[in-house]
Chain length 264, copies 6
């Protein structure tokens, strides 16, 4: 792979991949609206506002693959999501379509299905039940990806990411955690695969507690190596027991499902 574009490169996930995918492509093109560290060897740093169509068009030139982490990744005002997530993702797909149709990893989210209960095992065919406006933008992104594959042959893996940090940050993340190492190996599996079409997958490590069946991840040969269980004792000591009548505990989306409207 010659050039791999990562949008949202200044964020948490972007930094993990900037480090972890070093050497995977000849050039990592890193882009964000926020400040980024200067380009190192094998890197290009291209600041870009995803709502600027012409800029995104330039950004997506000459890429063999795109990891689209950009946009807002928490609950936000709808008008902000409209620019960053609705318009931004459209601009990105249009850029890809016009610039050689590289495969796209779309960072979807567990919040696209966050209103399912924790006692329900989901898979890639489960009903969408977004838990937030943010989650709705991810449903939109998956629909857009489906459309661009069906009509324009732009391939996407829509990855419903759980919680990707160095380690889980609360009890819920014992179930939703994806280790940075697993995230990196997953990115390689996505771009190494000979063919993906539009696949929906869950981004989660091999944790002991789990709500998502990811069996079809072996279609592209991904096998997570890590488990949150090594942090269990520490996390359970640090956080109080969960109350099963708390919506943040009942629903898979946790706090996103529990809280009211962003702007209220």
């Amino acid at each position: 792979m010659k050039r791999l574009l990562i949008t949202g490169a200044a964020g948490n996930l972007g930094k993990i991949l900037r480090e972890g995918l070093k050497g995977y492509a000849d050039v990592l093109r890193l882009s964000d609206i926020a400040p980024m560290d200067p380009a190192g060897p094998g890197e290009e740093v291209v600041p870009c506002d995803l709502s600027d169509r012409a800029a995104v068009h330039e950004l997506t030139k000459d890429c063999d693959g795109i990891i689209h982490l950009g946009g807002i990744s928490i609950e936000a005002a709808f008008d902000d999501l409209l620019q960053a997530n609705f318009l931004g993702t459209y601009n990105l797909y249009e850029g890809a379509r016009k610039n050689g149709k590289p495969r796209i990893l779309f960072a979807s989210s567990n919040h696209a299905i966050g209103f399912h209960k924790r006692t329900t095992k989901l898979d890639d065919k489960s009903e969408l039940r977004p838990d937030s406006l943010y989650g709705v933008t991810k449903c939109y992104g998956e629909a857009l990806a489906s459309y661009y594959y069906d009509k324009f042959d732009v391939e996407t893996v829509s990855l419903r990411i759980g919680s990707c940090f160095e380690k889980p940050r609360d009890r819920r993340m014992l179930s939703t955690w994806m280790s940075p190492r697993d995230f990196i190996s997953l990115m390689k599996a996505v771009f190494d695969a000979p063919m993906t079409g539009h696949l929906v997958m869950y981004g989660v490590s091999n944790n002991r507690t789990k709500w998502w069946s990811n069996d079809h991840a072996d279609l592209i040969g991904w096998q997570p190596q890590d488990s949150s269980d090594i942090f269990r004792e520490e996390i359970e000591a640090a956080f109080p027991a969960e109350d099963r009548h708390d919506p943040a505990v009942i629903y898979q989306g946790g706090g996103f499902a529990a809280k009211g409207h962003f702007e209220d």
Copy 2:
């Protein structure tokens, strides 16, 4: 029912309902961005741009039900869809949430699933496969409706409308046609039902050829009365036989699935 709001009242579907629902509610509040006929008895005419949040907030006051036909109903430039369909539908749901949570009929579309082949029978659980940017806005609307029900208890029937005209306008519509009479009786079924939660249904008459299984329509007691078959001879005489290698024939979305990008 005291007051029923119809958005998009100046359009084809809006006119059908303005006429057909006369007397169903004490007041029909009719709204559009386009010119409408002046209010008759039992009518209020309220021009409104759905992308204007404050105006939509006013519009949705004191309603017992909302039929949301507003926004763009054909393939269009994304920037236009962004205002009319993404922002407009959000504004409408916010208005409903803040103004007593009336039940909403959301005019979704067969174009949300238009990339399925005509040889596949679909139901309400079938995978979303939008055939156009317009279709993507309908996937978004259904996701938003799911969210507003799960979190805010705003009920919606997301109706994937086929083709609602006086009679079918081409051979494809022999399968997708919904008669105005069936559309009207469906609206009454939606608002008469004691409870809907968020239901996804197909808006199609009892045609002889059909791609959508609507069995669960009896949850709210809707039984279409009409069939396109009385127009079959006329339509088949007027339009040439369909070519099974034409994408407009292969896919359920017809011409929407067949045509390229709107702006190309």
Copy 3:
């Protein structure tokens, strides 16, 4: 058919069948713990307490079919259900097993699945979700019927009866109503069928609103003829609109799902 036993013959359903099945068998053997009218032509009246095993053994002799309506058919104290429904149904199956294995119609109930919401369409494979202790006894009866067929070749149709009266008695029954005429024709279909194994079916007329898919009823050739819709206007006039936040409206079991523990 020479002799058809009906238990619970003094009850509402029993009376409907006593009248409706006149002449269907050479002899109707009618049994109840409550007083019954004296035997007419082609009838035998055999009082019996279903919790008395020896009596039930006698009762079930020389029958070609059994319609088991007996036991308690409303929510009741567990100790009463223990005798009438748990023990009584066991005694009946033992009687059948030892007396030539006639086919059994087991009067199960919608209350075996009453905690499903009204916005969910069910079929014979749907998860059991009883709404009352009474409903639990019906889940038990269906399991017992499955066992007696698998091990002893005693056939049963477990019929989840909706509401069988001359006409619907409230708004909920517009969906759950089974007309006496349809009930009678169903009984004939059950005993005319060459083979039933253990089938689970719903006992409901062809109402306009419906929560249960009964497609496989044509395995035994039953087609309901009636619809509650002819009573809709009358019922809607007589009963106030339903409140969608009332558990009796949310759940299919209606009042059974809504009320607390019988003995509290």
Copy 4:
């Protein structure tokens, strides 16, 4: 349609269609290995042994559609089936492939699924369970049809025919009967449809007792008009009651499932 080929035209089904499809195509090309009546107006009579590849190649020239009823339609010695059904059907598909790829109606049979019990409702996705060597040849034919569509774009409707006679001939046929009129209208629906791909359907009238769900028949707009029920009384009078322990009653394939090996 200019020319429609019917193989097996001398058989029971062939005669029904020869009469029923008069005028549907400009020319009916009628073929069989057995003697046929001489060609009338709009007919061509072409004797042909389906196991003769060159002859079949000629036979299939210049056709716009093929109804393949030819071959052996009862249980037979394997060596006979090998020629007539295995080789014959292959020759027919090769002829079609090389001669313009007309759509094919393949006369499959309920005996492809005849080892399912009568208490199981089947649809087009149900597991194949042939009840005879004859049934195995039909499974083969459906697989061949699938292959020719996937690789060569030759369309087929594989029709699992029940029992097509003027009227039912025994009690089992009350469930499996397809009226000649329904068979004829089905043929028209198959060839009128704009697109079929490879569809599996059941050929059965709208009987009161039924084991097969044919919901997707409306993909091509077929609605059977007849029911065996008008013959029920007559048939039940003429044939003894069925014994539910008889394999011919237990299994959908009837006598085919019950009898041993053809050559024993």
Copy 5:
């Protein structure tokens, strides 16, 4: 966890847990109708007849969790099951409901699904097919658990236990065996889980041969560690090969499915 009640504590499973759960709760309250060893540190020994409602009410006071192993765990006379399993389990749920609604582990059994064949892989949605009156009592218990959760918010894990002994005792148990160690870890997973609702799971180790898919066990984070395979050679040497025409080999329930009525 302060106090964990174990009913049936004098039995095989009870003894395993009495030993294995030492220290898991501050107090293990051990109950049985049969004699038990005197209480050690961290133990309370409370003899109780489960059919005595008042006694069970006392027994279930002040518990944070209940492991309900009590009742009859083999095929038995119905009248005995009526007291011990039907009435006893009801009494226990009533006690739980009135005493703070602790979570319950209900010891269901593979005999609730024992009439499925060994060549069928089951999961938690598979049809109930009890193989014995004992199995019927377990179907009843699962229905009761469903009811108490839906109406009263009493949570249950219904565990369909295979065969829990130190090692497998015959060839069938090579497939159904659950090691004591896995049973103990499962109990901890059940009571450590933040939320269970009503879950149905299979209690079986990670054996090489297996009939039950337990994928959703990771909803509560249980991963069995043991396999019967280390005993395979020993068991196969000790027991004759299984005869595939023996009902005890055909059906998952083994001998329970094979034997006739208990009292015959």
Copy 6:
């Protein structure tokens, strides 16, 4: 096991088993139409043309199990397949039926489902979609096996073999590879199992990339030990990257799906 027959013993798979099953049965009866090495200890070498019914009848005498690898295992002229695969497999099943009904391992093939895309995960219930005439013969063989079990109680495991070689021979085989060691252990699992009925399974190792879910393989206790991943680097170095628009890459059947008709 006293005598195990292996047909196709001169082929690649046959040689693997001749070596690998040494000692598993008292006698391995090895048969092929092609020359074989002379019989060693515990071996019988019986040349046989599978299309010769009498010879096959002799061949199948006195066997406790049959591994049917014989016939043509690549795409071929239909007339050759007719003899070797259609007639040959029938002869073998007839031989088995008449000679004591030993269990049969039928070497089916991934080419029975080869027209599914690589982005679809299949299991044993997936629709048949053969990719070649060879694949069609395997669909036929599975249907024949189903028939012989349902009617004659001849058990079969139909094994859809991926690619069994010492190591993968191209990039596709990284997904389809079954190691000889896993193949051998699978054969033992098949014949050690107490009961199989007719099971369909996939013959594939525990590769990192995989298209087939084989969960139910634990019904007979098979767990593959090997993975193609140890050869990945070597294979990827030796073969060019796959083109996702190449039918040989799009479809699971690889080259079989991509190539045209054998005889063109």
